[in-house]
């Protein structure tokens, strides 16, 4: 399927970022084998692909948890107490930003600003943006995820 995306970009080396986006969408993260494949297909040195994949925050080289929680740390969210939300998450799941729980249920990420400043503090739960999040709301969501049955 990744080959289709690469073909659509006509193997253009400048489509590297688009191709990596697609690869991450398909596989969840960018493992070394995928990066090597992309490098071959776009005729780029592997170092260039590795360099780009590690430069941008949104590319992940490690597998993500079943659920993802992105806490926005933009200025408005910061002023409205986003740091408290991170503390809450740590006490609930014992993970810091960038980490995944040992059982692979939850990954915690932070965002620089998701542009939802009008409803700060904002958190993205599995792609769904929620505004004016308080510790209670956060606890309910995350506890649900951590204890859900397989």
């Amino acid at each position: 399927m990744l080959e289709v995306a690469i073909k659509r970009q006509q193997h253009r080396p400048d489509a590297l970022i688009e191709v990596l986006h697609r690869a991450q969408e398909l596989f969840g993260f960018l493992e070394p084998e995928v990066l090597r494949f992309v490098a071959r297909q776009l005729k780029l040195p592997p170092s260039r692909v590795q360099g780009v994949a590690t430069f941008y925050h949104l590319f992940s080289l490690r597998p993500r948890g079943a659920h993802t929680c992105v806490v926005c740390l933009g200025t408005a969210c910061y002023v409205k107490g986003a740091a408290r939300l991170l503390d809450t998450l740590y006490s609930l799941a014992h993970i810091r930003p960038g980490q995944t729980t040992a059982d692979g249920r939850l990954s915690l990420q932070t965002a620089r600003c998701i542009g939802a400043c009008g409803i700060a503090p904002a958190v993205v739960f599995d792609g769904e943006t929620i505004g004016q999040v308080d510790t209670e709301m956060l606890t309910t969501r995350v506890k649900g995820w951590l204890h859900e049955s397989e």
Partner: protein, 533 residues
């Protein structure tokens, strides 16, 4: 499509509109508050009450007051409802014909709405951004048609120069001058880039413009392409803005199908295509040379200027880069004339500016006001001030800007006034802080941001921001000596003067401005430590 076909389409669309339009905000903020359920509730209610002939529900772009969403506005009655819940939708529809309604009423005569002057956002919250016909009904692509049929590229550039429009991305470079520089380069492959990499935390004006009225941005880019002699445009959008990406993608498709992008536009020999490029989360890509590197598929690191992108930009070709809001101003200037635009604002800053007003302020959301409006008018009158407290500082310009104290609230907001006070206009984020905010901690917050976002290419920024962050952390922990404050200032100066690009050059601004206006807070943190020993 030619101009008369465009006018016919607009006319047909306007006659299709129902006499009463129920505008339901479907922008990111209101969506997060549940506006999609509200929209389907409203649509059902219209059906059930048998009002389909008189009333239509329109999902629209941002209705401005994001902090009170989901918002619903009824036109032409001029009713605004806030915090709307799906179960209130039936009574909201009934209220059109005078029924009682329990939903919270908003006040459209409040200065938050009444003091706005909407040029860039004139269609925001009025049209369905996903329907091409609605944009056309409000005059989209008429300006492009006029330009192509009646004006020479030089005449377009003269008009933009005369309007006094300056770049809305932050630095305020005169737009006409930038266009003229690219136009003067020898004919050949040239590019137009729209910078939609709105990375400043606390700013979401560009997101909203792209989401609410994407065709306005495309039209502005096409006019620019004609003026400078480019046939290819790129919009670079942050991946953090998925809704903006999908709406722009749809808009590009619609414009292409209608023959308003592509070859031989309006029956003239002018070709213009637009492609979208999605970022991958790097603040530095807002810098123009880093953005170009990213479009080329590389790491987003800046390079020294000159040569400026106007001479050597994307793929080594002359390239015009403007910000989203700058392009969004272009169709209005062409339609209504340079003199009209130049009559708005101050002597050196013309037109309006969109600000995202957030933080500790009663009314959070988007406002568009004439340049030169005072901070007090924006924060206290329109924003309604701090709930249960007083304004301590207003932060403008994000990590490149500064914090202005409450005593300077009467400052008019224009490029020169803000720069003189040690802040910058920036892209338009405005964050209000109250008395509980610790200013050295704000400085540390922004320094941490710059430290993590530094691309690592030049030493002053890569190493300097780390050093500055450590110093600030030490001050906050109460472990600093008085000499550390001097050290902090010297290092700020060094990083500012020697960094390669705007990120490093402006990274010390939040620290320097808080040192300038809130020095006592730093001193008391340092003094507490000295007293202990």
């Amino acid at each position: 499509m030619n101009r008369s076909e465009l006018e016919d389409l607009a006319e047909r669309e306007r006659t299709r509109w129902r006499p009463c339009r129920v505008l339901c905000c479907s922008a990111t903020g209101c969506r997060a508050a549940g506006s999609l359920d509200v929209q389907s509730g409203l649509e059902q209610a219209v059906q059930q009450q048998g009002l389909s002939k008189q009333v239509e529900v329109v999902p629209v772009g941002c209705l401005s007051l994001c902090g009170r969403g989901p918002l619903v506005q009824i036109e032409p009655q001029g009713l605004l409802y806030e915090f709307v819940r799906p179960e209130q939708t039936a009574s909201i529809i009934a209220s059109i014909n005078g029924g009682a309604c329990e939903a919270t009423r908003g006040d459209l005569s409040h200065p938050f709405f009444a003091s706005q002057l909407r040029i860039v956002r004139e269609n925001s919250g009025r049209i369905n951004p996903e329907r091409f016909e609605e944009a056309v009904a409000e005059g989209a692509y008429q300006a492009l048609g006029r330009v192509l049929e009646e004006l020479t590229p030089q005449e377009v550039i003269d008009q933009i120069t005369r309007s006094g429009l300056r770049g809305r991305g932050g630095a305020g470079y005169p737009t006409g001058l930038k266009w003229a520089t690219v136009a003067k380069m020898p004919a050949g492959q040239k590019y137009v880039i729209c910078n939609g990499d709105e990375g400043d935390p606390g700013a979401f004006m560009d997101r909203s413009i792209m989401e609410d009225d994407p065709h306005r941005v495309l039209e502005g880019m096409a006019i620019a392409g004609y003026a400078v002699g480019a046939n290819q445009g790129f919009i670079y959008v942050r991946a953090e803005y998925p809704l903006a990406v999908s709406r722009l993608t749809r808009a590009i498709q619609q414009a292409r199908q209608a023959g308003l992008l592509g070859s031989d536009l309006f029956g003239t020999p002018f070709d213009f295509k637009i492609e979208i490029r999605i970022g991958a989360g790097a603040f530095v890509c807002g810098e123009e040379t880093a953005l170009i590197a990213s479009i080329e598929g590389g790491r987003g690191t800046p390079r020294p200027r000159p040569p400026y992108p106007a001479e050597r930009g994307l793929y080594g070709c002359p390239t015009l880069i403007n910000n989203v809001e700058t392009f969004a101003n272009i169709p209005a200037i062409v339609r209504r004339g340079a003199d009209w635009f130049a009559s708005i604002g101050t002597e050196h800053s013309k037109g309006t500016k969109v600000f995202s007003l957030t933080g500790k302020v009663r009314n959070t959301g988007l406002i568009e006001v004439p340049m030169g409006t005072s901070l007090r008018q924006i924060v206290e009158v329109m924003g309604g001030g701090v709930p249960n407290g007083r304004v301590k500082a207003v932060q403008t310009g994000g990590p490149s800007g500064g914090c202005l104290p409450a005593s300077l609230l009467d400052t008019p907001v224009d490029y020169e006034s803000l720069t003189q006070l040690g802040s910058i206009m920036g892209s338009g984020g405005m964050i209000v802080m109250d008395e509980h905010t610790c200013m050295p901690d704000v400085a540390r917050f922004f320094m941490e941001f710059c430290m993590e976002e530094s691309c690592g290419k030049c030493v002053p920024c890569r190493a300097g921001t780390v050093q500055l962050h450590q110093l600030l952390a030490r001050i906050l922990a109460g472990q600093a000596h008085p000499a550390d404050l001097r050290h902090l200032e010297q290092l700020c100066q060094l990083v500012g003067e020697t960094s390669l690009c705007g990120l490093g050059q402006t990274a010390p601004n939040p620290t320097l401005s808080t040192l300038r206006y809130f020095r006592h807070e730093y001193e008391s943190l340092v003094a507490a430590h000295s007293a202990e020993r």
